[in-house]
Symmetry: C2
Subunit: 341 residues, 2 copies
C-alpha cells in the first residue's frame, strides 16, 4: 500500500479539481491511500459531492495556502502551516511516501529540498518534464529547479532522468542527449563541453548519444534531453506557448470555413488528440528527481484527470523503488566525478 | 539603386533556388542590382532557364563552396575563394551594400564580422530572427551568433532589434522583453539580472517591458525578445522542431480520416497558411545586426520565395539606413555603459 500526500490547495482550480482527481485515482486503484492536505472544510465540501472510497481518502488539516505568484522561500517562512509544507512533512515523518502538488512549483521544490534533503550521491534536485512525440515519451531535465548547474549536476540529471524514463515510462535503454547549439563535440559553452566529456566517461553505465539541438525534442533522436534549469524552463515555456498558439491558429483557420460541419468535427477530434500530447492539464505532472522522497509537481492549470495521472506516476515511482535505483547508479558513477565535483 | 551580393552556392538547393529567388526579386523591383556570387557555369546554367533582367543581374565568379557542415573559421581559412567570402568582399569594397546567404550560417557570420568589422558602439553582432503571431512580427535576438554575451551586448541587441522591428518590419514603438524564467525583477541568472538593470537605465531611449517567459514569444506581450545566442539558438530550434512535429501530427490525424476529401483540402490550405508563418523556407532570412554592412542569413532549406523575401529585407535595411540609426542610438546609450562595458 502506497500513501500519497496530495496538496489539495495548490493549483488554479484547487481544491475542486484536486479532490476530484483523488476521487478518480482512488476508483482506479485499490492499493493507494490518499491524504488530502489543506483546509479541511473546503476539502470536505468538495468530497461531499462524490461517494468516494473514504476508507482510503483522509483529510489532513493545513490552514495556510501559498499562492502561485508568491516568492517561494519567503512564503514558506511566513506560512508555517502551508498545505505544501504539511504534505512534505507527512513524507518526512514516514506517514506518506510521495507528494503531489499543482501549487507554486518553487515552493514545492524548496519545501521538498529543505525538508527531505537529497538522495545519496545527488547534490541538487531537478524537474523532469515529459513530451510525447508519436506516442513515445521524451524526458527533458531540468526544467527550472536548478539554474546554476555544474557539469556533475547535469551528469546526475542524466542518470535520474534515464532511470525515470526506464522504470516509470517504460523506455527500454533510454538514450541521453545533451541540449546544445550544434552536434559537434566542441560546440557550446564551457558547461556543455565539460558535461559532454563527463557523459562520455560515464558510458556504458548510461547511453549517451552526444550533443543534440533543440529540435531533437521532437525528432525521436533520444529519449532523455539534459540541460540546465534556466534553458530547460525557457524551452518548456516556449513549447507551451507555441503549442497553444498553433492550436489557436488552427481554430481560427477552421472557423473561417463556414458550412464545413463534418470537417470541423473531425478537426476538433484531431485537435483534442494533439492537445493531450502536449497539455499539462491532461498529461499529469513532472517529478522532482533527486530529493529523498517522491515529489511530483503539476501545472497550475491541472484538471482532475491530470492530477490522477500524476498520482499514478507517484505510485509507480514508489513501487519501482526509483530512488534506490538512482542511488545505486549514482554510486557507480561517483568515482568518475572525483576531480570535477 | 541598391546592389546585393547574393551567395549563389549557399543552401540545400543552391544554386537553383538562389538563382530563381534573384530572378523573382528582380521582376518585383526595378531598383535593385544583383550580383550572383559563385561558380559561374553552374549559375549561368540556372539563369539560362529564365528570361531574367540581365542588365540588373550579374555573375561574380567564386570557385569554392563552404558546405553546411564545415567548421566555419577553418573552412574560411582553407577556402579562400569561397562564395561567401567573395560576397562579403564585394560589400567591403563598396561594390555592393548587402550580402544575402542561405549557406553555412557560422561562415557567413564569421566572414562578415572579420571582414566588415562592427558598427561604432557595437562590440558583437547578433542574429535577429522573426516569428509571426497573429500577423504581428516578434523579433528574437540573438539566435546563435554570440554565445558568450555580456549585459552590455544584450542591451545593444535590444537597441538593434527594436530599430530593425521599427524600420524594417514596421512595428511602431517596439516593446523589448528580456527572456527569463520568471517575470519578477530578481529572477534568473546573473546575466539576466544585470541586463534587466541596464535596460531600465536605458529608458526612455528604448521601451523595456521587463522580464518575459518563453511563451511571450507567442503571446504578443512584446515585439522584441532579447537573449544570449546559446539560449536563442535552442529556442529557435525547439520552435522549428515543435512546429514541424505539430504539422506532422495533424497530417497523420487527417490521413486517418478516409473519404474526407473536401475537409482534407480545407485542412491543407490551413496548414499552408500556418507553415508560412513559421517556416524559414517561406519567411526569408534573419539579419546579422551589428556588422558594418548588411548581411542576411537564410535557412539552408530556403526556396526561391524565401530568398526573394530576404533580398527585399536587405534592400529595406539599406534604404532605411538602419545601420546609421543603430550607431546614433548606440551613441546615446553608450554613456550608460561606461561602468559595465
Amino acid at each position: 500500500m502506497v500513501t500519497l500526500a496530495v496538496d489539495a490547495m495548490g493549483g488554479d482550480d484547487a481544491p475542486r479539481e484536486i479532490v476530484k482527481g483523488v476521487v478518480y485515482a482512488a476508483e482506479q486503484s485499490a492499493e493507494t491511500q490518499y491524504l488530502l492536505v489543506g483546509r479541511q472544510a473546503a476539502i470536505e465540501a468538495e468530497l461531499s459531492q462524490f461517494a468516494p472510497a473514504r476508507d482510503r481518502i483522509a483529510v489532513v488539516e493545513a490552514p495556510d495556502v501559498i499562492e502561485m505568484d508568491e516568492v517561494p522561500v519567503e512564503a514558506l517562512k511566513r506560512k508555517r502551516g502551508a498545505s505544501i509544507t504539511r504534505a512534505v512533512g507527512l513524507v518526512r515523518q514516514g506517514k506518506a511516501q510521495a507528494i503531489v502538488s499543482a501549487g507554486n512549483t518553487g515552493a514545492a521544490v524548496a519545501a521538498s529540498y529543505m525538508s527531505l534533503g537529497t538522495l545519496k550521491g545527488i547534490r541538487r534536485p531537478g524537474i523532469a518534464a515529459t513530451f510525447y512525440v508519436k506516442e513515445q515519451p521524451v524526458v527533458i531535465m531540468d526544467v527550472g529547479a536548478n539554474i546554476h548547474c555544474k557539469p556533475a549536476d547535469l551528469l546526475r540529471y542524466g542518470i535520474m532522468a534515464s532511470l525515470y524514463a526506464q522504470e516509470v515510462l517504460g523506455v527500454r535503454a533510454p538514450r541521453i542527449g545533451l541540449l546544445n547549439i550544434g552536434e559537434e563535440e566542441k560546440k557550446g559553452i564551457a558547461l556543455t563541453r565539460e558535461t559532454a566529456e563527463l557523459f562520455q566517461r560515464a558510458e556504458p553505465e548510461i547511453a549517451f548519444v552526444g550533443n543534440v539541438e533543440g529540435d531533437a525534442l521532437f525528432r525521436g533522436l533520444c529519449d532523455v534531453i539534459i540541460c540546465d534549469g534556466f534553458v530547460g524552463n525557457i524551452v518548456l515555456k516556449v513549447s507551451e506557448g507555441l503549442a497553444e498558439n498553433v492550436m489557436q491558429v488552427f481554430m481560427d483557420e477552421f472557423e473561417k470555413c463556414s458550412g464545413a460541419g463534418a470537417a470541423l468535427d473531425m478537426f476538433h477530434a484531431a485537435l483534442d488528440r494533439f492537445r493531450w500530447r502536449i497539455d499539462y492539464a491532461e498529461q499529469g505532472g513532472a517529478p522532482l528527481l533527486g530529493v529523498n522522497g517522491v515529489c511530483i509537481v503539476c501545472h497550475g492549470r491541472s484538471q482532475a484527470r491530470a492530477m490522477a495521472n500524476a498520482m499514478r506516476c507517484a505510485v509507480r515511482m514508489v513501487q519501482k523503488n526509483l530512488n534506490h535505483k538512482i542511488e545505486a547508479l549514482a554510486a557507480r558513477v561517483t568515482p568518475l566525478l572525483a576531480e570535477v565535483d
